[in-house]
Amino acid sequence: MHPLWLWFHKTGSPPMFYRLAGKLMPWFWALAVIIGVIGLYLGLVRAPADYLQGESARIMYIHVPSAWMSMFIFAFMAFCGALALIWHVKISEVLMISAAPIGMGFTVVTLITGSLWGRPTWGTYWEWDARMTSELVLLFLYFGVQGLYSAFDDRRKGARAAAILALIGLVNLPIIHYSVEWWNTLHQGSSIKLLSGKSTIHPSMLWPLLLMAIATKFWFVASLLHRARGDVLEMESGKDWVQQMLPGAAESADGKAP
């Protein structure tokens, strides 16, 4: 067997994954917090206030990285789902399902920060703007994947169903996005697009944004590993290696947790 495949299968086995994830997790948490604190400091304190929008533009340093993550995590979920469907890799099922609530969280943060920013800038908390609407639809897609998974009693079957739905969702995301944009231009001409001039952003504002984008990635990985470890323990609660590590695990977790 090719060494890479061997490594892949070894890492993908639940006990190995559990140990490796436990070792890596603190590093990812630490990196996420350190980079995040620096990014937030630069963004919220050091970067100049926007000459048009004033201090409220600082919401961007949380809003934009969250929006990136909300889409990135959906793609990640679909990717893991494809691995799960094609090669039946157990760990990729776990990773896919663990990613869903995190992606949902980032989507909610994006929507809330967006509407908080909209209040002083557009004068309203909610505008049927193309970006906000498609972000909302993305949230519904997350709900669908999560809801479908939790409706199944059989965890692995639920994961396969959710994987199929995640793949359908990924294919449809660009279609939904462009249709919403088309709808938006059809119905309200041009709305205020202050955020569209991203390329002309000043370096003092770009750096904190990039740092925050990196920090959210690390946060995602750390949080993903954290959740996936818990899931792996629950899934394998009847197996020997869990029994040796945590005696009595089988009684507390027979089947799926509520």
Partner: protein, 227 residues
């Protein structure tokens, strides 16, 4: 092992399910009743002014069709998963793609087509100008098959659950957003004096793509539900 031709399997499934539906033909009417009832609610909620109603007629028609189409979805694969027919389809050696296509066609014939035929009546009753009705029907003709494809995929995914409840709508409705936008957009475009061709062409593209690839997804969902 494979018994009989693909065509026989396709027609056979269609005939069997069609017969089953015919025996419970009262149920076939429920999407239509639902559509007409919801259509009656709009004037009651918005007020009887003709101008206001006619301005929302196209969108209302589309939303009604979208919602009414959800009603019959749950039954599409449920009994097959319960009585083992789904497993029989899997081991029959027949192409699941064709069988999925038969299910989609069945849903369209029993839900999409009747809704398509009742929609003009609803639109005219709500005061849509007559010249918009042709576009509405054309848009529905291109849009409802896509809704059937999406619905069949969602129904196949949830077939082995005890009940799917709100889950089906939760899965289908976000994915149906583009169909709704282009479908309602086509009608709107004609009513304000523009061209519907752009939206209709996009709808047609969607119909071709979803009819080509949708049965594949539906088949893999059927496989998942049966295993």
């Amino acid at each position: 092992m494979r018994n009989g031709s693909a065509r026989a399997a396709f027609v056979g499934l269609l005939a069997r399910d069609g017969m089953g539906l015919w025996r419970r033909r009262g149920e076939l009417l429920s999407p239509l009743m639902f559509a007409v009832m919801v259509a009656t609610l709009f004037p009651l909620a918005l007020g009887p002014e003709a101008a206001r109603l006619s301005s929302v007629a196209g969108g209302v028609c589309w939303v009604i069709v979208l919602l009414a189409g959800q009603l019959s979805l749950d039954a599409l694969f449920r009994s097959d998963a319960e009585d083992g027919s789904l497993d029989a389809m899997l081991v029959s050696g027949q192409s699941l793609y064709l069988l999925a296509l038969a299910k989609i066609l069945l849903h369209w014939l029993t839900t999409g087509l009747p809704l398509l035929l009742v929609a003009p009546a609803i639109a005219l009753a709500l005061g849509m100008p007559k010249f918009g009705v042709t576009t509405l029907m054309l848009a529905l003709l291109l849009g409802t098959p896509q809704l059937s494809v999406l619905g069949a995929c969602a129904a196949a995914l949830t077939a082995s659950l005890r009940r799917s409840g709100i889950l089906l709508a939760l899965i289908v409705l976000p994915l149906a957003v583009p169909v709704l936008i282009f479908g309602a957009g086509a009608v709107e475009a004609v009513l304000v004096g523009g061209q519907a061709s752009q939206a209709l062409l996009l709808l047609a593209a969607g119909a071709v793509l979803s009819l080509a690839f949708g049965p594949l997804v539906c088949a893999s969902a059927m496989r998942m539900s049966a295993s």
